[in-house]
Subunit: 315 residues, 4 copies
């Protein structure tokens, strides 16, 4: 069944909150997102009362999420296959920024200076998006720079392990703010069910982004997104897996960066060994010679690395 869902509430957290909608395996949901700064498809701020909050605590005000979507009959140890059917950008603007205390060349802590040096000054960059030609335009350094748009979902995940909650800024085993260009139209994400119902949430559309999202901000915008959800019963996975027409992939998110790298490559090695008939050392060896990898982000509270194996060698 296909649901057209209009969000009435956005969360700043991944967790097992009151579901926005209950889906069944095989269902499709079409919905619209807010941008990372909390504005909608018209560029208007989402009204505060629609943003999650209470008087008892405070929230990190970034990446408001649509959801959570409760998936009926999904249990701990299952996997949610989430096919990204489409990401239709719906706004002719995107913004990016230099932030004073965020980004890989300002400091190591996420949003916190770990330095005595003065913070950078903030700069805002406004991009024009040409949705027909699929390009983004800006003037910088005396140049008119026009880049191809390659939209993807920056933040997508389920309720974290042990039912803990995580801010929408943090990627981890449950997915989350991975900022991976691989979360694009046509890709299927496999996410582990850590809490009964899964509680899928997403948001933070990027119209384009370089590897690592090094300044901490991509071309932030909004889109209409269509996802198809399927439950794979009794198939536990440890970390998010991605699959498109060319690659099987694993996204590891951790600090330090090397741990994210190791997680992604260890899990992909195990995947090759368990499902494709390699012994574990041969799997490691062939990945070593033909694997590629992409750094999603080096700025969030965990960094994200995607390890990729070409499917053409698996036939």
């Amino acid at each position: 069944m296909e649901y057209r869902f209009q969000p009435s509430r956005y969360y700043y957290m991944f967790g097992p909150y009151e579901p926005a909608l209950r889906l069944k395996s095989g269902d499709t949901v079409v919905t619209t997102t807010a941008d990372a700064g909390g504005s909608d498809f018209r560029g208007k701020p989402i009204p505060p009362e629609m943003l999650q909050g209470s008087e008892d605590t405070e929230y990190y005000q970034a990446n408001p999420l649509v959801g959570p979507f409760f998936v009926e009959d999904s249990s701990i140890g299952d996997t949610l296959a989430v096919k990204i059917e489409s990401i239709a950008l719906n706004r002719s603007t995107a913004y990016s920024k230099i932030m004073s205390n965020f980004g890989c060349l300002t400091d190591e802590g996420a949003g916190k200076m770990l330095l005595l040096n003065q913070p950078l000054k903030e700069v805002r960059y406004d991009w024009s998006l040409d949705l027909k030609r699929k390009t983004g335009l800006i003037e910088l350094g005396g140049r008119r720079i026009e880049i191809p748009l390659e939209p993807f979902i920056g933040s997508i995940g389920v309720a974290p392990r042990y039912g803990t909650h995580q801010t929408s800024l943090t990627p981890g085993e449950y997915g989350g703010n991975m900022d991976c260009p691989e979360s694009k139209e046509g890709t299927t994400l496999y996410l582990p069910v850590f809490v009964r119902g899964g509680y899928l949430s997403f948001g933070d559309i990027h119209a384009a982004q370089g590897d690592g999202e090094i300044c901490g901000v991509a071309l932030e915008t909004t889109a209409d997104v269509k996802l198809r959800i399927e439950i794979q019963k009794g198939k536990p996975i440890e970390w998010p897996r991605f699959e498109d027409s060319d690659h099987i992939m694993v996204a590891g998110s951790a600090r330090p960066l090397m741990d994210a790298f190791k997680i992604a490559h260890l899990e992909l090695t195990k995947w090759l060994a368990s499902e494709y008939g390699f012994n574990i050392l041969d799997a490691f060896q062939i990945l070593s010679q033909v694997g590629t990898c992409r750094i999603g982000n080096v700025v969030d509270t965990n960094y994200t690395v995607v390890a990729k194996f070409p499917k053409k060698y698996l036939r």
Copy 2:
């Protein structure tokens, strides 16, 4: 007022759960703990129904916590001063372990191998505690090794920032599983209030531990603990602070280890500058020449470093 509290429920998580007790600024609470493995002062397993859980999720089964204690009139931006009045060990046994996939010389991931190598075999070590002489005894390597007991609280913290939940294995800005020997009798901990009421929880008594808790397990046991709670209104802090008769201290918890080190020393530098009349560079300079530091743990999901400044130079 002094409360004698007998726990009827233990949590595997720091978070704003249903309070065990409501305290006021100035109150004292005396209670008893379970050990990291879930056994009580007689060495008997806590009944499963007293351990937090539900059918919707699973839990990391370590470090059951007493609490949470709601502190009336504490608000976001306040600080809880928690004086550890006493830690009275109440069991003549402690255990430690080599675990197959935990500890700083097995792998880097907390409880997860990031390696293709085979895991270590598990070994359990049973220590006899002489509570009068305050020593722990074991035979190892053909020797009778008797060490002094220096009991401390391994895990103590409030509800994390943004009201998120964290497993009792994780230390952070809210305190948590810091595994710092400085959390001993006589020390006052200052913890930031991130959620109204604070929600203080604690457990995981260590009878003794080396720096870094390198194998991942200390002399795990139980104690009767007496804490006095006071609210410092309108005094926000960023990370846990400790104070005893000799030192002011800050505990930073993060990965990689260097970030924990930087957090602890940056926050202590700021403390010296804001409250003791040094300009920020002079504060950094004098800390550089007389500061000491202690590594709490290098095995948990975040590592913990305590930076220490001698109070004798502050008079």
Copy 3:
């Protein structure tokens, strides 16, 4: 002038040793390499007396280097532009390996276990190279796997800063064992002159390699290599720069991995600012949106990251 050079001696170190040949700016040298294991184009071991050594010390026996080539009139503060005119594979075999104590999923230390776990068993893999079809073939996991050959120079560098010597296993500011697939035919490398004469050396041809060289060994083989050297007077650079038809690039080599990443991206940001008219924050911003990066290795004594900027945005 073009020199055809037949090595009579191979070094296991980058440093200002007795020059193999003296070149002038504009000269070309054509020579042949030994593979990482010390065998020649026929697969025969290089005679020990041709390998650098003495009775006073020992050497890490990997990556024997051709050179060093002294470049007349090059001084401290100059840059050597080294154009890789051709890499002609000259052997129908390559080997790769699983090593017991090397590679990113065995441990973190280069060639040293930092673990109590048992080392992995060693496995050798023999690849057949079809030099006409430019493919490498192996049978693994019951499959016949044929991969495209994309040969590059694994180790290439000058005498390190301060005239220090470094084993041929270590990459750094001077280049060295970067294991970057970007060091391929058609690329120009820019290397800083740290010692008068530069002392260029190279070797360690890889017929193919995945990102990060995760097992620590690529398709190790030999080639006839043609390089053209040019001096850029009075143009100091801090780290190796690469340029091909599509990208300008910087290779940062350090530990931890995040430092290699930061070095590469900081230097590329500075390059964009100093030569292409961006202010420094705009340079960082545009790199953030269109930059890509590639991990050369995560196994050597320093890790290497290449940051890449598309030249099409610089016109």
Copy 4:
């Protein structure tokens, strides 16, 4: 035999240079040092012609070293036992500094900003040393701060593995700029012989220093130093070992900090197992409960951690 040695040349590098003196096992050498900034016991700059250099390269101008001392009959695989008989401070002044681009709260790279932020301003601090009362005095933050002097040798090491050279700023397997307060009067250092003759060098006296030398500079001064050298034939070690009346210790130097920590604790575990009758897991276990550790530096090109085991448990 006891040699009184007056240096006529100082090196900025550890390596197998022309020996300053040839010693035999059992000999003692008494000599005087220059401070880290290149001044002598009167505070006068060492004449440039006495500082190592050439027209072919440049040098990092810090930590000039006395030596190298060639130890007759020492071979690869031996160990040099270097007893620090005395460190007699000989100057009534010491300096420390805030540097613009060095220190753990400015950036992660040694002497290199890995940031877009502005560097710190430099500040110099002058300390008065009272050599009789053994105190250092400075006024800071409106206070007269008097601290105890605990002099030690900041830089001491042999020629590095494979005969490579390293700047006097870098610590490693060969010792070097470890900045460990444990290198004090009464301690014996065990250093591996990597090159025939050992080539011991040292310098960089610190009158006092906090853990980690966090600003990058200690109380820099000069001393008359007396060392006794002994060869332990056929006893290879991997990393520097220290021994005083209370502890056996290992100093690990690497980046990231966690690797330095792991090296020190792994080597100390192996030492306990090989010489004191523990099996390897028991050695790890007992170290885990009674070991302490000290961070030498978190600012140099490698960081240094000293793992310590109390000798009282080894009787």
